[in-house]
Amino acid sequence: MTLALNIFTLLVVAAGLLFFIVGTVGLLRLPDALARLHALTKADNIGLGLVVLGLLPQAVALWGVLAAAKMVGIWLLLQVSSGAVSQLMAEVAYRAAQRKDSEGGAAP
């Protein structure tokens, strides 16, 4: 039984890492701030979700259900904060871009 769970953890955590890698590649390759934010937030949220999901059975085995619930709580909290923060950064980036255009591309 534990073997199946271990395999499940390995697979799901690997998938999660894959998403993280995609997010990072997005960060490096994409041209402007807004696109990068978009890629990064989405990929990391899902990546973390998968990692947490993968580790749930291990956590239950080691520290019991409460610890597992705490991990899920962490994931939820991250959902909220990374979503809000990426929107705020988008606002700042947007306003900076606007100011740059209005100044006719004057030297930053």
């Binding site: 909290l77 909220v80 904060s81 979503g83 809000a84 923060v85 929107q87 705020l88 606002e91 306003r95």
Partner: protein
């Protein structure tokens, strides 16, 4: 096997540290420093010191990073004359010398280091506390923690003394320049209650499991700052009596208990045997409150001399 995990952590830490020191855009350097704080947090977990990991992330990386972020824009005003390549080389050589010396010392330090763990273990039951670190902080080396709270208070007085408002009645400058947007408001409404709960839990659990007054106070301060930034809570008028009482509560409650120790117990800062735990908890409540207020006010900065 453990090298597999430690080596990458160490390399990331060194890379981030070099980025923070390397120069270039001030904002990028502070961001690198905040990452440095987080990485150090992981390293402290690897060194089996969860209390310190919490403090490092909450205070070392978090609030210190936040304060440094505020200064990122003003760094250019204190820029001095650059130094030549020769100086860089000398500095590098000396830094390598420091590294070599410290590395040699770390390697030469006795492997089973002489430690006070056994003494703490034998004396911990007398303090009715489960968490040894809190035991050391609040009981065995209580003077350091008392001084710690006084240091925070004096640093705050130092920050306040920079303001033109002689009686510090005014409010500090706003943290977030733009009017609070919807996202910030939503974030605050969701995160602040959870954060306050976590902060209080951290402080409360500190007696028996990793946590404590400093970590709890830091989280509470962060939540207060978030609420102020989101406009849910007005920036406090620094002349307010309640605010100042909260500031003084920590150090002077601790002092009060300490002085009572002469009469009730047998030395300064000694806790009477019967009621050690509740007394310690009471003192920790006062300390956590004043740490939270002090940390928040240190980030907010001096009064801007306006009553608004």
């Amino acid at each position: 096997m453990s090298l597999l995990l430690d080596a990458p952590l160490a390399l990331v830490a060194i890379a981030v540290a070099i980025r923070a020191v390397a120069g270039g855009d001030a904002f990028a350097r502070v961001a690198a420093f905040m990452a440095y704080g987080l990485v150090l947090g992981f390293i402290w977990v690897r060194l089996a010191a969860p209390d310190v990991a919490l403090t490092e992330i909450a205070v070392g990386g978090g609030i210190t990073g936040l304060v440094l972020l505020q200064a990122a824009g003003d760094a250019r005003f204190s820029r001095e004359r650059g130094v030549g390549l020769l100086y860089h080389v000398c500095a590098a050589i000396l830094a390598l010398g420091v590294f070599a010396a410290l590395a040699a010392v770390v390697l030469l330090l006795p492997e089973p280091a002489p430690s006070l763990a056994p003494q703490v273990a034998t004396n911990l039951p007398a303090t009715d506390l489960g968490n040894p670190v809190t035991g050391v902080l609040i009981v065995f080396r209580a003077l350091d923690t008392l001084l710690e709270t006084v240091v925070l208070l004096v640093a705050l007085i130092g920050v306040w003394s920079l303001s033109p408002d002689p009686l510090w009645r005014g409010r500090p400058a706003p943290l977030w320049p733009a009017p609070p947007s919807g996202a910030l408001d939503f974030l605050a409404r969701v995160v602040v209650p959870v954060g306050v709960l976590v902060g209080i839990y951290l402080f409360w659990a500190g007696a028996d499991v990793p946590g404590g007054a400093f970590q709890g106070g830091a989280v509470l301060a962060a939540m207060a700052l978030l609420a102020i930034m989101a406009g849910l809570m007005p920036a406090p008028a620094l002349g307010g009596r309640r605010l100042r009482l909260a500031l003084l509560a920590g150090p002077f409650a601790f002092l009060g208990v300490g002085i009572a120790g002469w009469f009730v117990a047998d030395a300064f800062l000694d806790y009477p045997d019967g009621i050690t735990k509740p007394l310690i908890i009471a003192v920790e409540v006062a300390i956590t409150a004043s740490i939270a207020v002090a940390l928040a006010l240190l980030v907010l900065g001096p009064p801007a001399g306006r009553k608004a």
